[in-house]
């Protein structure tokens, strides 16, 4: 085990190069609906139980199925209304289980990125080859079902190995060259994109995905009231928008439609989307478009700035 994942160098949020998003926008805004499939009876992972109760875990399984039967379409209608294209964190087995949902996302020109096969299959305990195979399966599934060359990764149920990002980048290169496997949503260390160092020399970035704005973290872990969640989203936006004047920031809302699309939570969520998208200097976009733009225009400048600051503040 390491005491530091070693993916990035320290980069102070202070005197950074000025990032400007397309159209001279100050803030890049993206929404990440997690479209997930949880199995009722998965093989038990040695490090993490999928469900707290013995089979059948009626409650946990059925509320997640609510997201698929009821929730996704609700959020689609809402995002349509505010002109947001989702960047989907996809349990790729859902392409097989519920192709209708994938079709609706395709019709909206949404982005698909990999969130593993099932959200009840954890990375813990996998050999390097197993994890590579799982990642490849997920990326091939996205390509087969949507024609998209998967660019991003969020490990299934945020379960990682030390090699997760390396393997994702490498499989992406094997399948799609530089057009696949070049950003991750697994790291929460910054409000701007960060170059990530991997064992290959591939240009690879971290795109901020916000654990704090994640509806499941807010509602299930932190037990936040729905209206307060709406207020938190607006406050998160206000500050990032203000700071984006200095250097462009990113705001992400990761959602799960078994949470935010429940009837008692939609109103506050809609109010926040309405608020955010009513501001002029917001680039409403997808994770892939942010990663592409950053890699093309700022990757080198930012890397140089990080190198400069590694030497200390007195340079």
């Amino acid at each position: 085990m390491k005491n530091d994942p070693g993916f990035y160098h320290y980069w102070p949020y202070h005197n950074r190069p000025k990032i400007r998003w397309p159209g001279d926008k100050k803030l890049a805004f993206w929404v990440a609906p997690n479209i997930e499939f949880y199995e009722l009876n998965p093989p038990p992972n040695p490090s993490r139980a999928a469900w707290p109760q013995p089979y059948p875990a009626t409650q946990g399984y059925s509320i997640r199925d609510y997201g698929n039967r009821v929730g996704h379409v609700r959020q689609m209608e809402l995002l349509d209304k505010y002109g947001v294209r989702g960047s989907i964190s996809l349990s790729t087995a859902l392409c097989d289980h519920h192709p209708e949902i994938i079709q609706m996302c395709k019709e909206r020109d949404w982005e698909f990125f990999s969130h593993g096969i099932y959200n009840t299959r954890y990375t813990y305990g996998m050999s390097e080859q197993q994890e590579r195979d799982m990642i490849r399966d997920s990326m091939e599934s996205i390509y087969r079902h949507t024609g998209q060359k998967c660019a991003g990764y969020l490990a299934p149920a945020l379960s990682h190995s030390e090699l997760t990002l390396d393997l994702f980048a490498e499989v992406g290169t094997e399948l799609f060259g530089n057009q696949g496997g070049y950003y991750t949503c697994d790291l929460f260390h910054d409000d701007q994109p960060t170059p990530i160092h991997l064992r290959s020399d591939k240009r690879f970035v971290s795109i901020p995905y916000s654990l704090e704005m994640n509806d499941t973290i807010a509602f299930v872990v932190n037990k936040v009231e729905p209206r307060r969640y709406g207020d938190m989203l607006k406050q998160n936006f206000d500050r990032l928008y203000q700071e984006g004047e200095e250097s462009g920031t990113i705001m992400c809302i990761p959602t799960h439609n078994y949470q935010v699309s429940c009837p008692h939570r939609m109103k506050a969520y809609e109010a926040a989307l309405d608020y955010i998208t009513s501001h002029d200097d917001v680039w409403v976009t997808t994770a892939r478009e942010i990663a592409d733009y950053f890699i093309e225009h700022y990757y080198e400048q930012v890397s140089a700035d990080i190198q400069l600051k590694r030497a200390g503040a007195s340079q």
Partner: protein, 306 residues
């Protein structure tokens, strides 16, 4: 490190669900339904009448809301019993004031213990559902099938006799089930159950003994879930209920009838500092254009159209 190869095998990875209990179906793709008198939103208010035994066994887990302290946990026993002595009568006043017709989902053991309370509720002629024997008689994976069969049969037979109603609805204690529960319910004459929370509308649920209906009785909107599990304020509970009513009514405008199901507990909302929030929620919901009905009535109206 290597996982067993089963971890990279996906035997159920194909169209539909990963089990055969029900068919996959998108809510938005179904035929719209309409409720009697052209109402858009059905309001189902269900009161959980519960008995939490002092000698809780906690198998396979301590039921949420049950005893947490070493025996004898008088604080939790008596605080839950408060609902059956005091809280329920505050509920009844509120129902009368706002002309709400509720249903009562009963632990059979409670019906047996307090005949006076049962008589008062029977006089109102509202629907009773069965909530299992009591809150510590859990249905769970691994429970001996014969034992569970006895529990289901005994809970339903006794409650039918005590209430003089042919009980058709079921809610498992803690919404927990074994792999056999749905079969046992059908075997014992249950028509609908409310344990699965994956839909906002009724849907058919397959068992080896014929179909059950799964009825939506939101867990996320329960008083217990919002106030005890989530530790939200009473004000927020009220707001969440009103927001849900508004949203479902709006969705019903374009997608057909919807159901708002409130599951409430007299030991929770029946407290003096909370009852006003239930009253305000009921007042608001009844001011909307709702069809206030029981689980069986909603299901009957639904079945007529499908």
């Amino acid at each position: 490190m290597t996982l067993d190869k089963s971890h990279l095998e996906y035997p159920h990875r194909s169209k539909g669900m990963d089990h055969d209990r029900y068919d996959w179906s998108l809510l938005s793709e179904r035929n719209p339904v309409s409720w009697p008198n052209g109402k858009k939103l059905a309001l189902w208010v269900n009161v959980c009448m519960q008995f939490y035994p002092l000698d809780q066994q906690g198998v396979p887990f301590k039921v949420p809301g049950g005893m947490t302290m070493p025996y004898p946990d008088l604080r939790h026993y008596s605080l839950r019993d408060y609902g059956n002595r005091v809280g329920i009568f505050r509920f009844l006043k509120a129902f009368d004031r706002f002309e709400v017709t509720p249903t009562f989902t009963y632990n059979t053991e409670l019906a047996r213990r307090y005949p006076y309370l049962l008589d008062v509720l029977k006089e109102r002629q509202n629907e009773f559902l069965c909530h299992g024997l009591h809150m510590d008689a859990l249905h769970y994976g691994g429970l001996d099938k014969q034992e569970e069969s006895k529990r289901v049969k005994s809970a339903l037979e006794q409650l039918r006799e005590l209430t003089s109603q042919d009980i058709k609805g079921w809610l498992s204690p803690a919404r927990n089930e074994s792999e056999h529960t749905p079969e046992l319910l059908v075997e014992n004459g249950v028509e609908y159950f409310c344990d699965w929370v994956n839909d906002d509308m009724p849907y058919p649920f397959r068992t080896e003994n014929g179909n059950l209906w799964a009825m939506p009785l939101s867990n996320e909107l329960e008083d217990k879930f919002i106030l005890m599990n989530n530790q939200h304020s009473e004000q927020s509970y009220l707001q969440q209920i009103c927001d849900a009513g508004d949203f479902l009514l709006q969705e019903a405008e374009t997608q057909g009838g919807r159901i708002l199901a409130l599951n409430i507990h007299p030991w929770m909302l029946g407290q003096p500092h909370r009852i006003a929030y239930l009253e305000q929620a009921l007042e608001y919901l009844m001011s909307l254009d709702v069809w206030n009905a029981s689980g069986s009535e909603i299901l009957a109206a639904f079945k007529q159209q499908t």
